[in-house]
Symmetry: C2
Subunit: 239 residues, 2 copies
């Protein structure tokens, strides 16, 4: 783990894109992370064209990229739909996170000097602020992003990308299967994990993280309900 990551956007992480496309990818990605775009929602090309004011080519490239990251699904001749993970995929996501994240925080806690702790400290401040202001969508997104930034702070771009994909998928899963209340991570578990890292306590950090993940997973009930929405312009337009 060496160099720090400068860019945190999904689009620029591996790819130089024309700004048109990265805006589209970024907006849709963010909307999914905030659970404003429900699984199975259709993303029609024409709609996206007028929403973002770009040509169809840019929209199609953006959709292909989103599909390659599993955020949406492209159906031949039928269009693009927000991904809709099933129970089996949900299990795989949590299994993969259980594989990666515990060793990750353990390692971070072993040598917290190598990593960018300010990134995490600042993030927790943002989370607290959003929680106090009762900004629901913001809280949901930041809650997931904490885990992404956990990986990002190591400066390892591959670890970062893996985590980001898993966290994004988790957000879809929680939106689908989660009870209404625990859409976001519990209040201060993130802070406790960060504190354990800062105190160089690998065992504690790992234990806290494992129970945190278990906590999220146990809040799901695997009884699929769906609610594809429609006013894309309103959802994607802001910011």
């Amino acid at each position: 783990m060496s160099s720090k990551l400068q860019e945190s956007t999904i689009a620029s992480s591996n790819l130089k894109l024309r700004s048109d496309e990265s805006i589209i990818v970024e907006r849709i990605y963010k909307a999914v992370m905030e659970q404003r775009l429900a699984p199975k929602t259709k993303l029609s090309e024409a709609r996206l064209c007028e929403t973002f004011g770009v040509g169809r080519m840019h929209v199609r490239r953006a959709l292909l990229l989103l599909a390659s990251q599993g955020i949406i699904e492209l159906q031949s001749n039928r269009g693009a739909y927000v991904a809709c993970p099933d129970g089996s995929e949900a299990n795989d996501v949590f299994a993969a996170r259980m594989l990666i994240e515990p060793p990750l925080v353990r390692q971070m806690a072993q040598s917290p000097d190598d990593i960018d702790l300010t990134l995490l400290t600042d993030h927790i401040a943002l989370e607290d602020a959003a929680r106090k202001m009762n900004e629901r969508t913001e809280v949901i997104r930041l809650s997931g992003e904490f885990h992404t930034k956990l990986a990002q702070s190591t400066g390892n771009k591959f670890v970062f990308r893996m985590m980001r994909e898993l966290v994004t998928r988790t957000s879809l899963i929680v939106g689908l299967f989660g009870s209404s209340e625990n859409a976001s991570c519990p209040d201060d578990e993130h802070g406790n994990i960060l504190e354990a890292i800062r105190l160089r306590n690998p065992e504690l950090a790992e234990k806290l993280l494992i129970s945190h993940l278990n906590h999220i997973q146990s809040g799901l009930d695997m009884t699929s309900r769906q609610a594809p929405q429609d006013d894309l312009a309103a959802i994607l337009g802001s910011e």
Copy 2:
């Protein structure tokens, strides 16, 4: 870790593609894995069009997908080039593998009944055969693919994808920085790891894997040399 993975191709792992595009992606991916396509080699659209006999649109889509996986790099107005990882990226790749693979084999050795060992057994047979026949490119690719299949055998599609990306990048790195001899993994280390898993010995499996990765990494010297080649049709055409 639950359902078995049926498809191992890079293209179909996350995405339904038109067959044109998956063929292109697959061929280029394979050529990179076999170190027949050197880093920095230019992949011009026109050349790929005539090589594969498809329109420019399919080529461009394929290139975008390859770029999103970090296999090639798209330079604005300048074209597509095979990715050329630097020393820092190489470190990140091995750090990421050190994070993931040890817990992975440890877990596999703890419950080898949950996983598809025939996949690995068959693969090792293939490796041995290719080695005996002195098929260099085949040996190199299979050598990397063992690690991919290690992940694939868990049936977890996310673990599989992460490993595949890391292994692909490793292949580029070994091609760039490796001494000529150790382009492939040493003869029976793979077999030993599999055996440790089969014997339900997590500690041994983990230890063997760690020393295996260290072995690969220590065979690099980080003095970049490059050799972009040119006869794409010959390289990509076969099979």
